[in-house]
């Protein structure tokens, strides 16, 4: 009897097979935004703002013409900003071995610094051309494709940011100097910028993005953060205790330098210990506090020394920190940041995942509840409408959490997880209200 009732309900008002209409005959056609006047107005506004910006810039920041060209080149040639990366790669290319192959043949190739620079500038182009053919996966969102996103960010840092910075290495060397006249950011530090910041950015983004997808990241965090902390401690100890660590001129300021290194190393070690030993929620709190206090402590120290700086201690402290910028400045920052990002609670991930739904209606077809609920027969998609808050609260509680919808979902969306979490939220709110229903 009951079975007959259900069968009748299933077929009532429905054609067999796929229930939605497709093609030009579709009656549930949802028109887009009309080109005129809506789209045209919006585009005109954007165009006018852009042209106004250009007028403003050309009126108040007139492009510089400079002297006419001549055979005498100026000492520092700086191309326009968008070619700085190539100029920087050309300058860093002298680290590569220089040799000639095919001597005496028409195909003689001289691996000079300029040719290495050409190759380095060509790498991004080749990478971009083959990209769609090497990355064939279907995931589009950055958080769903953490390897691609992290690699992209690391690549941008190395090939665009660092190489552009390196193209003005002469300016950097002249602009910031230590009290004994040496460059505060010497050439070898800037060369390491090509390796260390991209690796840090890449690994940190990878951990943070996987965490955004609710992955437990402790197996990544422990070796990464602990390794970074070990590097900071080893470098600080070497500077303080090895006779070759501090220069003779910096030795009178050992106390100040030790305090600065302590302010940098202690939060890093604390975060590493928390990630290693404490539960995740504690590790998150420790990383928040370590980051905040470390930053405040460093700024207070910097301001304090600058204020009390009778015998120029600050310059010597900076002459230790800045040449070791990769290890003593960037690594502690990234260690704390990674620990925080890798242990935080991702926000509204279900909303994020449900957004993938393109309403194919398969979940609706298999849902056992919509087949017997009278309310649901008017084409109501139980799960999706719950998510879109287009319901009176009933579908949330009539769901059986049988997961039939997830089983047929082409995008592999775990609906019942969402339903259960929404219910848990309601219970949590009820508990917070002293057991009273909303």
């Amino acid at each position: 009897m009951q079975i007959e009732y259900v069968k009748g309900k299933i077929m009532e008002g429905r054609q067999s097979g796929f229930p939605r209409q497709y093609g030009p005959e579709r009656s549930d056609h949802q028109p887009g935004i009309p080109l005129f006047p809506q789209e045209a107005t919006r585009d005109l506004v954007v165009t006018f703002i852009l042209v106004a910006m250009m007028f403003f810039l050309s009126a108040f920041v007139t492009p510089f013409l400079g002297p006419a060209r001549g055979p005498q080149l100026s000492e520092l040639i700086v191309p326009d900003w968008y070619l700085l990366f190539s100029w920087g790669l050309l300058k860093v290319a002298d680290i590569f071995p220089q040799f000639t192959i095919g001597q005496g043949t028409p195909l003689k190739t001289e691996f000079s610094a300029a040719f290495w620079g050409d190759l380095l500038s060509g790498i991004p182009v080749i990478f971009l051309l083959i990209l769609p053919f090497i990355d064939r996966g279907r995931e589009a969102r950055p958080a769903k494709a953490p390897v691609r996103s992290a690699f992209g960010l690391a690549f941008l840092i190395a090939w665009i940011f660092t190489s552009s910075l390196y193209s003005i290495r002469e300016v950097v060397a002249q602009r910031w100097v230590s009290p004994n006249g040496a460059a505060l950011i010497p050439d070898f530090t800037m060369k390491w910028f090509f390796i260390i910041p991209p690796v840090l950015v890449g690994l940190t983004s990878y951990i943070a993005l996987r965490r955004l997808g609710y992955q437990p990241m402790r197996r990544w965090l422990v070796p990464y953060v602990a390794g970074l902390a070990a590097i900071v401690v080893a470098q600080s100890a070497w500077i303080l205790f090895d006779p070759a660590g501090l220069g003779v001129e910096a030795r009178p300021f050992t106390v100040e330098i030790a305090i600065a290194l302590g302010i940098i190393a202690v939060p890093t070690v604390a975060v590493a210990a928390a990630v290693l030993l404490a539960p995740e929620s504690t590790a998150r709190k420790v990383s928040t506090w370590a980051g905040a206090l470390g930053l405040i402590g460093f700024l207070a120290f910097y301001g304090g020394v600058a204020y009390l700086d009778q015998p120029r201690a600050l310059g010597w402290v900076l002459s230790v920190l800045w040449p070791n910028m990769n290890t003593l400045v960037l690594i502690p920052m990234f260690a704390v940041l990674t620990a925080w990002l890798g242990t935080r609670r991702p926000y509204s991930t279900y909303e994020y995942l449900l957004n993938e739904c393109y309403q194919c209606g398969k979940c609706h077809t298999v849902c056992p509840v919509t087949k017997v609920e009278d309310d649901a027969l008017g084409g109501l998609n139980l799960v999706y409408n719950t998510f879109k808050k287009q319901h009176d609260g009933v579908p949330l509680w009539t769901c059986l959490a049988c997961d039939a919808c997830s089983a047929v979902c082409p995008l592999d969306i775990q609906y019942s997880d969402y339903i259960l979490e929404e219910r848990a939220k309601v219970h949590a709110r009820m508990a917070a209200d002293g057991g009273q229903r909303e």
Binding site: L50, S58, P63, V78, L90, L128, A140, G152, Y358
Partner: protein, 223 residues
């Protein structure tokens, strides 16, 4: 003929399927349009500048001051100081170029990070990569043209990088720059023609194809 209310731009994925919009991506979807608007501004201001610019970089000695000068640079002085609104037109051309290159670069970053280059849009991604190279070449050729100290430095770097290519380096440099050094100033005329004819011809064609494919295939949104 379609009725007016049926004529519309292709619906985005989010509109089509009534998705909750992933709002933080949306401002990034105007970057392609911004580069196109900048390109139109560049075309208009470029046509105006073309009436007054003289593509001749050969060195001359100024009769009164005795300094080195050249017709291209002197025509720039005329545009900046004599032609009514000339400095505004040149400023617009300069800043629109910067905005276009920045927008194209950020547009490419957006396409990369939202995975919009994936099947079936591989061809459009390749067109986009070529268009980005064309945009950079537009920029490079553009700042060679004033025949000032910056042009000279940039041309020297360009010639040296070209000459470093194996086997055909010098021939390539002569083809692109007219010489293996900048002394003769022939590179101004070469890159003038690249800047005002070859690149606009190829670039406009590819841009039409690029936008046509977006129209046909729809906007790829992260879903």
């Amino acid at each position: 003929m379609l009725e007016t209310d049926q004529r519309q731009v292709p619906r985005s994925h989010a509109e089509k399927y009534e998705l909750k919009t992933i709002w933080y991506w949306y401002p990034l979807y105007c970057l392609g349009g911004i580069s196109f608007v900048a390109f139109i501004v560049l075309t208009i201001t470029g046509i105006l500048l073309g009436f007054f610019y003289v593509p001749d970089g050969r060195l001359e000695i100024d009769a009164t001051s005795g300094n080195l000068t050249n017709p291209a640079w002197r025509s720039m002085l005329t545009i900046m100081n004599v032609i009514p609104f000339g400095f505004i037109i040149r400023g617009m051309h300069h800043w629109a170029a910067h905005i276009m290159i920045a927008a194209v670069f950020l547009h490419m970053c957006r396409v990369y990070f939202t995975g919009a280059y994936k099947k079936p849009r591989e061809l459009n991604w390749l067109l986009g990569v070529v268009l980005m190279l064309i945009t950079v070449l537009f920029g490079y050729s553009g700042y060679l043209l004033p025949a000032n100290a910056l042009s000279e430095g940039a041309a020297n770097i360009g010639i040296n990088m070209t000459r470093a290519s194996p086997a055909i380096g010098d021939q390539l440099a002569i083809l692109l720059f007219g010489d293996t050094n900048t002394l003769s100033g022939v590179y101004i005329l070469r890159w003038y023609w690249v800047h005002v004819f070859i690149l606009p011809l190829v670039g406009t064609g590819l841009m039409v194809l690029h936008m046509g494919l977006v129209w046909l295939q729809g906007v790829a949104e992260p879903h």
